[in-house]
Symmetry: C2
Subunit: 125 residues, 2 copies
Amino acid sequence: MAIQIRQTRQKEAIRNAFLKADRPLSPEEALGTAQTEVEAVSIATVYRNINLLVAEQWLIPVEIPGESTRYEVAGKEHHHHFHCNDCGKVYEVEGCAVPVKTKLPKGFRMTGHEFFLYGTCAACR
Amino acid sequence: MAIQIRQTRQKEAIRNAFLKADRPLSPEEALGTAQTEVEAVSIATVYRNINLLVAEQWLIPVEIPGESTRYEVAGKEHHHHFHCNDCGKVYEVEGCAVPVKTKLPKGFRMTGHEFFLYGTCAACR
DNA sequence: TGAGTATTGATAACGCGCTTTCAAGAGCAT
DNA sequence: ATGCTCTTGAAAGCGCGTTATCAATACTCA
């Protein structure tokens, strides 16, 4: 028989952290938000639940150059990310301004693209 | 007095590795290429010399999401990078097809951008 | 309510990229 | 060629993000 999945306060708090945030969170950020809801959540539990949520495709990983992986809830429209050089937070930028017809070398096939913006966010100015 | 800089076979082989490659190399890749020229080069020497070359701005670091840092010779025209999902190599893609006028949230200031292409390179198809 | 077992917290351990250590080797000025 | 000292190789060490360990806790179902 399959192992049964249980609801726990920690799991709920971690899911809520991602739902409340309108931007991709690092495990550390998710921990901080979850702890405002449930007093004691450990970083190990955050990592465990992130992995579960990624496996069931409720979360998707967002990899940023030179940064640790962030996670955001799945199912959003195509968008890109803005990385604040001051506070390190990653924000979502709506739309895709990329005309995906860059000239590739012969024989190359493109299957996807990522576009990152860098700068200073409103809170840091 | 300032410490004197010496020319060595290893240093020359590492520089040549980057000159020969028309794409950004990881330290491991640079090691492989350098070893075809000088029998014994250690990875420590590759890292040491990469750091020296970055400090004197002969090399510039290229950070790829989820990958270790690559390095390419400085002074090239504005371009972006293609990451092969099969072999992991990073290639250069000429030109910048990005109309940088994405609508940012209010108060955000953009200072730069990065554009990555993903797919399969000619050698892997 | 109580039994059975999935989940948690605290912490040790891991992997990987990178740096440091130090004795041996080798440029460079003389 | 000689000597000074910068550079190298091999391996240990480090930092950080992440995972494993294991006893204690707490869901869920009967």
